[in-house]
């Protein structure tokens, strides 16, 4: 039969195509559409998952001609080696459980039939294209698959296209995706110019001048970082990921951005391996460190749970880049062990982040599905109503914050160690060593903030008292959602407890695939990898101790828990009477970040008197508890009609920003005074609210404005230039004949003079 992993993956691609066909034939019966499309997608993902694991186990590479493209091109290949098999494993693993989740999630689109057809079609083709990107062995196939991936995901982002913020998000996404493909295509073109082949897997054996290779690296880096969301080309990410349906967000954040990282690895560390320069590492490390800190800093202050997760993706892309940077440093200094260590760290983090982040997005999808809001301030107390989601969210949050015993810790640990191994050898160039140091420090800071960010997200959504009627009356999540949590939860905890089972075989087969004779696990000096495998002096004891401690303490806790609570008390707040408005809110919790790093966020510090804590908390609580209510009051006080206000609240992404835009700061302060006189209960707080709201609204992503604004400027420049060009296009055939005549004369003169 000639069955091998590659041919099996081709069959799974066929499965996705069948799902796409099913989608456009069955959409008139939504339930049948839902079950058929998502079942076929899940089965195809299962096949792809199994065959990629098979390929990883065999450790060989497979090659096959791409049937459709071999007519126009001399050679078009599908190529499956350890790297691409690993990426395909991640893609198909995540798409397996997002497809299960989708069954319970998409029912609120049932009313709109046309949308169902488009969504199913794009969803299945999106999954297929991601696998095809990882399989592509030549530039043409890569670009085609890449574009299918961009376009299908663009339409998926656009699913709720009746909302203007979704349309804007999709547009911005398309802009960045286009930038990405332009740069990548130019870089591939340069490669073709020197090697006369599009098959980039063969480039490392050919001759490319070092300068051209460096230029290609820069182009690839810009192209892939625009698609991966590396700062400063990130601003599409926190807009597009929240706008998409949640199971698609899980794929966008968990998987699609990783394909850009895959592209960067495939081109810089494989295709261009012989020409890696030390400054390549420095560039990747610098932008990785920037993304890591920037992403998590903005994630911490978000109120929109999906935006928070999207910013955290930027952070994790930064961490993956740090690993790639270390690998590049190893390649440039000819330290193969460092290359393997850095690459293993990056790939391992790709897997771990994909698991945790997709799970978190699925949980946010469950929240959105049950509560119809993404605002953390309108949740609270859900631990009792959405118990499965709460547990899944907690496990994934522990994972993504890099907590020991959960998955991301192991890969962050490898990243730390690959950075240390970059700083240590003097063979690595000093810029890369210096930036590896900055990367190390940034990673530590980002790790500290990640704990802040995800305790905030979990606490605000699931703990405390319900802060809206939806949260109070939330119904349990559908069964398919609960089912979809099982696999990632097990994997997050399993990888966390036994990381060596994944990391060490991965490193070994990476070393083999890069043509290294040595086995990295037999070599001392490979930092943590060796410690993990040969001297698990850390892990096994910790696991043993943790289990013992856990069992002991749970037994003890049960005896503690037996104490009878005779009386419920109200919280003690310096003797002041407690009322619900004083309960902590998520913005109160994240307030210290806004205050302490005010200059980073570009906001004015509002609260100077820390010792007036009671007043401070009440103000914060009020500010965030009723932002919409407050905005409505302000607009009403400004004389806006109720109809207009309703229209604004329905369409605005961030209502308060609109309020500020409409009213202006001064007017808000005036209105706040007017309002506060009406409402004696929270008198005095409103003046502060007006200022706080202004500050919070100002804390928008500054680079978004800068970079995206700059690009708009360039686009306007091009448009102006095009309008100028139009002037010579008069539209009269006689004038064009004159142009041709002039051109002919010029050519004649050229030939006479030169020849």
């Amino acid at each position: 039969l000639g069955l091998n992993p590659l041919s099996l993956i081709e069959w799974s691609l066929l499965g996705y195509v069948i799902a796409a066909i099913l989608s456009i034939t069955t959409f008139s019966r939504p339930r049948a559409w839902n079950y058929s499309v998502h079942t076929v997608c899940a089965v195809s993902s299962g096949i792809a998952l199994g065959s990629s694991i098979w390929a990883l186990v065999t450790g060989r590479s497979f090659e096959a001609a791409m049937p459709l493209l071999s007519i126009p091109l001399p050679k078009s290949v599908l190529y499956l080696d350890t790297l691409s098999a690993f990426i395909i494993m991640v893609v198909s693993l995540v798409s397996l459980y997002t497809s299960i989740f989708a069954v319970g999630y998409v029912d609120h689109y049932y009313g709109k039939r046309g949308r169902l057809a488009a969504m199913g079609l794009n969803y299945s083709l999106f999954l297929a294209s991601m696998i095809l990107v990882a399989l592509a062995g030549d530039a043409v196939l890569f670009i085609i698959a890449w574009e299918i991936m961009s376009i299908t995901s663009f339409f998926l982002v656009l699913t709720e296209h009746e909302r203007p913020d979704v349309r804007r998000a999709a547009f911005v996404y398309m802009v960045y995706a286009s930038i990405s493909v332009v740069f990548i295509a130019i870089a591939f073109g340069i490669g073709y110019y020197y090697t006369h082949t599009f098959v980039f897997i063969d480039w490392s054996k050919m001759r490319i001048p070092a300068v051209a290779a460096s230029a290609m690296f820069v182009l690839f880096f810009i192209g892939f970082s625009s698609k991966a969301g590396i700062v400063p080309l990130h601003s599409w990410l926190p807009q597009a990921h929240p706008a998409a349906p949640s199971h698609v967000s899980a794929l966008l954040s968990g998987v699609m951005v990783k394909l850009a990282m895959y592209g960067l690895i495939r081109t810089s560390l494989y295709a261009l391996a012989p020409w890696v320069g030390g400054w390549w590492a420095a560039v990747v490390l610098a932008f990785g460190a920037l993304s890591a800190f920037y992403g998590i800093a903005y994630a911490t202050i978000q109120r929109d749970v999906k935006k928070l997760l999207a910013y955290s993706t930027i952070e994790n892309i930064g961490i993956i880049s740090l690993g790639i940077g270390a690998a590049l440093a190893g390649a440039s200094a000819h330290i193969p062990l460092l290359t393997v260590l850095g690459l293993a760290a990056a790939l391992f983090h790709i897997l771990n982040h994909a698991l945790s982040k997709s799970q978190l997005f699925l949980c946010s999808g469950a929240l959105l599905h049950q509560l119809h809001t993404r605002n953390l301030e309108e949740m609270g107390g859900l631990v009792n109503r959405l118990r499965a989601t709460a547990i899944a969210f907690l496990v994934a949050a522990l994972g993504i914050s890099g907590m020991p015993f959960f998955n991301c810790f192991a890969s962050e640990w490898l990243t730390y160690n690959s950075l240390l191994q970059t700083i240590f050898p003097t063979a690595v160039n000093d810029a890369a060593r210096f930036l590896a140091m900055i990367g190390f420090i940034t990673l530590a800071a980002a790790g500290a903030l990640a704990v802040y960010c995800f305790t905030k997200a979990f606490g605000a959504a699931f703990l405390g008292a319900p802060r809206s009627r939806e949260a109070e009356e939330a119904r349990p999540e559908p069964r398919s959602m609960k089912a979809s949590y099982v696999l990632p939860t097990i994997l997050i905890a399993g990888i966390g407890l036994f990381p060596a089972l994944v990391a060490c075989p991965l490193a070994t087969s990476l070393a083999h695939s890069m043509g290294m004779a040595l086995s990295p696990l037999a070599t001392p000096g490979l930092g943590m990898l060796v410690v993990l495998w040969r001297r698990p002096s850390l892990y096994i004891p910790i696991v043993v101790a943790a289990f013992t401690a856990a069992i002991g303490f749970i037994a003890w806790a049960r005896s503690l828990a037996r104490t009878v609570v005779a009386r419920r008390t109200i919280p003690f707040i310096s003797g002041v009477e407690y009322d619900q408005s004083l309960a902590p809110s998520s913005t109160l919790y994240a307030g210290d970040a806004l205050d302490t790093m005010a200059s980073f966020y570009g906001v004015r510090k509002v609260y100077r008197h820390e010792y007036a804590v009671r007043f401070w908390t009440s103000r914060r609580a009020v500010v965030e508890r009723w932002p919409i209510e407050f905005g409505v009051r302000v607009l009403r006080a400004l004389g806006m009609s109720d109809d207009e206000i309703r229209r604004l609240t329905e369409t605005a992404d961030d209502f308060l920003q609109i309020v500020i835009h409409v009213a202006g700061k001064r007017a808000i302060e005036r209105a706040a005074h007017a309002v506060s006189k009406v409402d004696q209960k929270i008198y005095g707080a409103f003046y502060a609210i007006a200022r706080a709201v202004t500050a919070a609204a100002r804390a928008v992503d500054r680079m978004d404005r800068g970079i995206y604004g700059g690009m708009r400027g360039i686009a306007r420049g091009f448009a102006a230039w095009a309008r100028g060009v139009r002037k010579i296009q008069i539209g009269s055939i006689y004038v064009y004949l004159v142009y041709i005549y002039i051109a002919l004369i010029l050519i004649l003169i050229y030939y006479v003079v030169v020849r």
Partner: protein, 316 residues
């Protein structure tokens, strides 16, 4: 392949470390309180007062609890905090340089971060705004402490080029000849960060009793409160011990031998010396505000970066 016997040994040493820190922690707290009182001209509580407090609290029954989102979390929270602190303590070498490989200090910091994670969740579970403020302040402090301490420790490891505590002592003098300045700067950066992480004035912003009533502790009583207090004390001693193990490891026993006896004495002497220094700072200053503390910690991050630059450029 790494033998199971070695694993068993390591587990044994982990238990020993955890027990030592657990036993010493209240004593160090009593020492700090006594010393601070003496400096201020008071008599102060007896050295064993913290043990008595703990004993009394553990004997209490819990009769009241606030209305929380999850009662199970309310009950498990302090236990989990204590368990994670104990896990971190068990990895810090005290009298013998086991089981922590020097390169794995990252794990200790991340276990303490896990403690922070659990304690924040516990704090957000009770509807008290002071708990939330306390937890968020702790995160802001750690934003400065973690980078500075982690990188300073990393520099020390890079300089001595060794991966296990104690074994670098013979190599230290020659390494210091090349990287003396970097080593000293790393030591300064680490000690600044460590002092900020001790939850003592002037860095007790997260536990400020007079201001936010010790945050989450206000809603707990009886054995739960005892566990939380013990966790704070243990974490304090763990940080001090980590500093001792990384930067002043002289005299630590590297294997099971007669030297363990003197090693215990040396460890305790170093521990109380560090505690004395911390108490001096504590008595001499008033509590900082959150952003002032952050600014101070930025200084220690800057010093650790400086140490790194000097290390890379090999300037003395």
């Amino acid at each position: 392949m790494y033998g199971w016997i070695r694993v068993g040994e390591d587990v044994g040493w982990m238990v020993v470390n955890a027990c030592i820190i657990l036993a010493v922690a209240p004593l160090v707290e009593g020492f700090v309180r006594k010393l601070a009182a003496r400096i201020q001209g008071r008599i102060g509580p007896p050295l064993v007062q913290p043990y008595r407090d703990l004993k009394k609290l553990f004997a209490r029954r819990v009769l009241t609890a606030p209305t929380t989102a999850s009662d199970a979390l309310y009950r498990l929270g302090p236990v989990a905090v204590f368990a994670t602190v104990l896990c971190a303590c068990s990895l810090v070498p005290t009298v013998v340089s086991r089981p922590l490989a020097l390169s794995s200090f990252i794990l200790v910091f991340y276990l303490l971060a896990l403690t922070r994670f659990v304690s924040s969740i516990t704090a957000l579970n009770v509807p008290n705004p002071f708990s939330a403020i306390s937890a968020s302040r702790e995160h802001m402090l750690s934003l400065g402490v973690e980078p500075a301490a982690l990188f300073a420790a990393a520099i020390a490891m890079l300089i001595t080029g060794s991966t296990s505590i104690g074994s670098e002592i013979p190599a230290l003098p020659s390494a210091l000849l090349i990287h003396g300045a970097a080593y000293i700067l790393a030591l300064v950066a680490f000690s600044l960060a460590m002092i900020a992480d001790l939850a003592l004035p002037p860095f007790d912003v997260a536990e400020a009793e007079q201001e936010i009533y010790e945050g989450p502790l206000a809603e707990y009583g009886g054995p739960y409160l005892a566990l939380l207090k013990l966790s704070i004390a243990c974490k304090r001693v763990a940080m001090m011990s980590l500093f001792i193990a990384i930067f002043i490891p002289f005299g630590i026993a590297t294997s099971v031998s007669w030297w363990i006896g003197p090693s215990i004495a040396i460890y305790l002497a170093k521990l109380f010396a560090v505690a004395t220094a911390a108490t001096m700072i504590c008595v001499a200053s008033a509590r900082l505000r959150v952003w002032d503390a952050s600014r101070y910690l930025l200084l220690s991050v800057a010093i650790s970066i400086l140490a790194g630059i000097i290390y890379i450029l090999r300037v003395v």
